[in-house]
């Protein structure tokens, strides 16, 4: 895998040979191992190192960008020539922003030696353990284990220089037998904090609770969204949670900064100081990461903004680098007693915008749905389609569970939400 020294050497070459007025030069290196299994056998197994070398140059406000996967001097010369030729042929960009100067970067450790040293034999041993568990239930198991080590480097003409090294390990698995299927997944930056037995236990518990799913009538039904479902939804919130598109009138967030737009129980942050979560030190433009309150007790505090828009509007250039949703203390058993009846959803699937302006989204449930009444789980259900204005749904939060680490970049609670808009059912 490419080292910091090799990255530094390439950066020196770029500095000495670029003729353009300004430049951003970045290198991303990764060592990856993907072990994919399906129907109780490994079907795909990939190993290799990747590298992405990117140069963005400008002559005044005319820009050009070239990228490759080669750090040899000839390749770097070609990169410079390509980017500079493009910039010279280009038209001026009225939204051009000069590259970042030197910044102090946060002191964050995104690297784990335990993850980096993980061997393929151990990964296959663990998959075998999971498969044997499924075979013991006459079920089929499909999933993937992913190990990744990444090095990121960025330097600019104006003096920024940053290096970050990170690791991650992820394991997901779907167990299926006849009409029952359910999934668990977890990712961590430090493999020593990955508890396979606990994950198998969760899979078995979910699988055991699902039997002979039946359809019920659709409508506005209280829902307990488990953390995977909440996180899946948040990805889509983040996708549209941009200051410029809000100011230009394309999303429901127009003119809502500083206002109580979400439910008062909904708080969403990015944090540098959580030891379990990755927090990349700087973004691809060289903006250092900082603690950000995005939504606090339902009030919109900050939204994503790029460097141009931030500069034009006297804002901070911000991006979500990890996801923390504040939780509560209500257990799932207690949630089932708060409402007369409702459904428990393990995950969502295929969420897409229906109307970006109103913030209406559609999606389906996945990985198991349970019906509860009078404080007890009564039966398994087939999957639903829902159409819901999700920011309004946060105003119907009735209770929050404790926060759990769902991914190496996310801590999420279970939410009990009243009157979720289930509009259709599917056949399984």
């Amino acid at each position: 895998m490419i080292t910091r020294q090799e990255m530094q050497k390439a950066a020196d070459f770029i500095r000495n040979h670029v003729k353009a007025d300004d430049f951003n030069f970045s290198i991303g290196g990764a060592e990856e191992l993907f072990t994919r299994f399906a129907q109780n056998g490994i079907t795909q197994h990939i190993a290799g190192d990747k590298i992405n070398v990117n140069l963005n140059v400008s002559f005044e406000n005319k820009t050009g960008e070239a990228s490759s996967n080669n750090l040899k001097e000839d390749a770097l010369k070609h990169l410079i020539k390509t980017a500079e030729s493009m910039a010279k042929l280009n038209q001026p960009d009225p939204e051009f922003v000069a590259s970042e100067p030197a910044h102090d970067l946060p002191d964050v450790d995104n690297f784990s030696r335990k993850t980096a040293d993980l061997k393929v034999e151990k990964i296959v041993d663990d998959i075998l353990k999971c498969v044997k568990n499924a075979e013991g239930k006459n079920a089929k198991l499909s999933g993937i284990s992913e190990k990744r080590i990444q090095n990121s480097f960025l330097t600019t003409k104006n003096g920024f220089e940053g290096f970050d090294q990170s690791t991650s390990f992820a394991h997901s698995m779907t167990m299926k037998r006849e009409g029952v299927e359910t999934k668990v997944s977890r990712s961590v930056k430090d493999h020593s904090k990955f508890n396979l037995d606990e994950l198998i236990g969760q899979l078995n518990s979910q699988f055991g609770s699902l039997k002979n799913p039946v359809q019920i009538e659709t409508g506005k039904i209280p829902v307990i969204l488990r953390p995977a479902a909440v996180l899946n939804w948040l990805f889509y919130l983040i996708w549209t949670y941009d200051r410029r598109t809000a100011d230009e009138g394309h999303t429901p967030f127009t003119d809502q900064i500083g206002k109580q737009f979400f439910g008062k129980d909904f708080t969403f942050r990015s944090r540098l100081d959580d030891p379990d979560l990755e927090a990349s030190k700087f973004d691809n433009g060289g903006i250092p990461a900082e603690n950000i309150d995005w939504i606090e007790n339902g009030v919109i505090k900050n939204m994503s903004a790029d460097r141009y828009y931030a500069r034009q509007n006297n804002l901070k250039a911000l991006r979500p680098y990890n996801i923390i949703v504040e939780g509560g203390e209500t257990s799932e058993a207690e949630m089932m007693r708060i409402v007369k009846r409702g459904v428990i959803v393990n995950n969502f699937w295929y969420i897409r915008p229906v109307d970006r302006k109103t913030g209406e989204w559609t999606g389906l449930t996945r990985d198991g749905v349970l019906y509860f009444e009078d404080g007890k789980i009564q039966k398994s259900l087939t999957n639903f389609r829902w159409n819901e204005i999700l920011h309004k749904a946060t105003k119907r939060i009735l209770a929050l569970g404790p926060v759990v680490q769902q991914e190496y970049y996310a801590k999420i609670p279970t939410l009990l939400i009243d009157d979720f808009n289930f509009i259709d059912v599917t056949t399984f």
Partner: protein, 480 residues
């Protein structure tokens, strides 16, 4: 010795049961223009090789970008080591590969003007002009032009003796105008997706005229009304819209790896299981879906797939009945097939080839019928153009689609534009509701360049097509 031969000789000498190598150079030019600001003007070139080794019924795949004898040999060994590890958790009694022979051949996408030879300044000037046209309309607040040109040059060799030289190319221009009022924001897009053609195709699109049309329609749309609560209605779906519905509701369910459960953990599985082959009424009797990886301009047209199987043409659905799947050398034998249909494709050199949708289209109607005649023959319905919201369950049964432009049809005429329209349906109800398909004079294709599938994810491409078709008794309504 050349690298191809070296890799194959090393694999054989180490005891591989089968191996192949794909040396691939991929060049992608992206230009993204928004409101006259060039947000991205880039050229990406990546070059490397991926080596698959098959040993005792299991795969190993390793990739590298270092072209030395030592690196090639190490990469083969790495692939073999992890193939042996895969063999510790075998699929059944081990995978087998469908019969195939070696080929010595070449393929090149036919074109006149290579888009990479067209000066950047010429492209940007054309894009700026289009952007200015859209922004000349007062209510158009956002004008976007995205242009992607991609070229893949592959050298493939296998232990079956194949030596293939394959060069493919596509271009994808997309323009979008967004109209904004005090209370709403609505977009309209012109796109035919990606097409495996030269720059002469872009020149033939009359994008300046299209910019005027979509700006006018975006403004019309932002001021349009919608429908109320859902009710059963007739739908007329244009080929551009249908490309997406067939991709999601026919293409993906008939990928054999999904059918077998190989995508169960992520992309999902399929309701179209093997016992349905030859007897399942997937669509009405006039519904015929053709898989054709020899389609001119098709994005899956490449001479051969990424395991050296020649491109082919076959029926997925014939007279409404499910006939066959798209498959690969590892998936075909599992349902008793001797040969692969050649649908194993990878995006970049470091990607493991996976079972992909072929070029897939709805055969035009056999009776002479124009879109104007079909509209005139429809008393009360909704005409949908282009792609909008789309969502389908992981078994590919229940789906909900929007669109890019909607028109109400009354008494055989388009009477008013609409917005925020959704329809819901299921497989096999949807394709069985087709009662009319226009003839081949209005047949159009649409190339999908962003089909997300696989773990790790890959961005696949294929082409869909059809003629305007009518669907009866579908649940249609307005959004909230």
């Amino acid at each position: 010795m050349d690298f191809l031969s070296l890799a194959m000789n090393t694999a054989k000498s180490l005891g591989a049961d089968y191996a192949d190598i794909r040396i691939q150079r991929s060049s992608t030019e992206m230009i993204f223009l928004r409101n006259l600001s060039l947000k991205n003007t880039s050229l990406n070139e990546i070059y490397g090789y991926g080596i698959r080794v098959f040993k005792n019924g299991a795969w190993g795949f390793a990739h590298n970008n270092v072209f030395t004898e030592d690196a090639i040999n190490k990469t083969v060994k790495k692939a073999l080591v992890i193939a042996k590890e895969s063999g510790r958790v075998k699929y059944g009694n081990g995978l087998t590969l469908a019969h195939e022979r070696g080929y010595i051949d070449s393929y090149k996408t036919p074109f006149n003007l290579d888009p990479f030879d067209v000066p950047l300044s010429e492209k940007v000037e054309m894009m700026m002009g289009t952007n200015k046209t859209m922004l000349s309309f007062a209510e158009i607040k956002r004008a976007v032009f995205m242009l992607e040109c991609r070229k893949d040059e592959k050298l493939f060799a296998s232990t079956l003796g194949s030596r293939l030289d394959l060069q493919t190319l596509y271009i994808e221009p997309t323009i979008t105008a967004t109209a904004v009022t005090e209370t709403d924001s609505q977009s309209r897009t012109f796109s035919q997706g990606g097409q495996a053609r030269g720059w002469e195709w872009v020149q033939s699109l009359n994008l300046a005229d299209k910019a005027v049309q979509i700006s006018e329609e975006a403004i019309m749309k932002v001021h349009a009304g919608s429908l109320g609560a859902e009710e059963r209605k007739t739908l007329l779906l244009d080929p551009n819209h249908m490309a997406l519905t067939m991709h999601e509701s026919v293409g993906h369910p008939t990928e054999l790896d999904r059918v077998l459960g190989w995508e169960a953990d992520f992309a999902g599985i399929s309701f179209a299981t093997p016992e349905k082959i030859g007897n399942f009424q997937y669509g009405s009797k006039i519904v015929n879906f053709v898989a054709n990886n020899k389609l001119e301009g098709g994005l899956a047209t490449a001479g051969y797939d990424d395991e050296g199987v020649p491109n082919q043409k076959w029926y997925i659905i014939k007279d409404g009945i499910l006939q066959e799947y798209g498959n690969t050398r590892a998936t075909a034998p599992i349902i008793g097939l001797e040969m692969s249909r050649g649908c194993n494709r990878a995006t970049n050199y470091f990607d493991f080839p996976i079972n992909r949708i072929p070029n897939l289209y709805l055969e035009p109607g056999k009776e002479l019928l124009t879109p104007q005649e079909l509209i005139a023959d429809t008393d009360n319905g909704i005409y949908i153009e282009g792609r909008g919201s789309f969502s389908i369950d992981q078994h590919r049964v229940n789906f909900q689609f929007g669109g890019d432009m909607f028109w109400e049809i009354k008494n055989g005429k388009k009477v008013r534009p609409l917005k925020k329209i959704l329809y819901k349906s299921n497989n096999p109800e949807f394709w069985n509701s087709v009662d009319a398909i226009c003839d081949d004079r209005s047949f159009q294709t649409f190339g999908v360049t962003n089909c997300g599938k696989g773990q790790p994810g890959q961005r696949g491409r294929m082409t869909h097509g059809g003629s305007l078709a009518r669907f009866r008794n579908i649940r249609v309504g307005g959004s909230q």
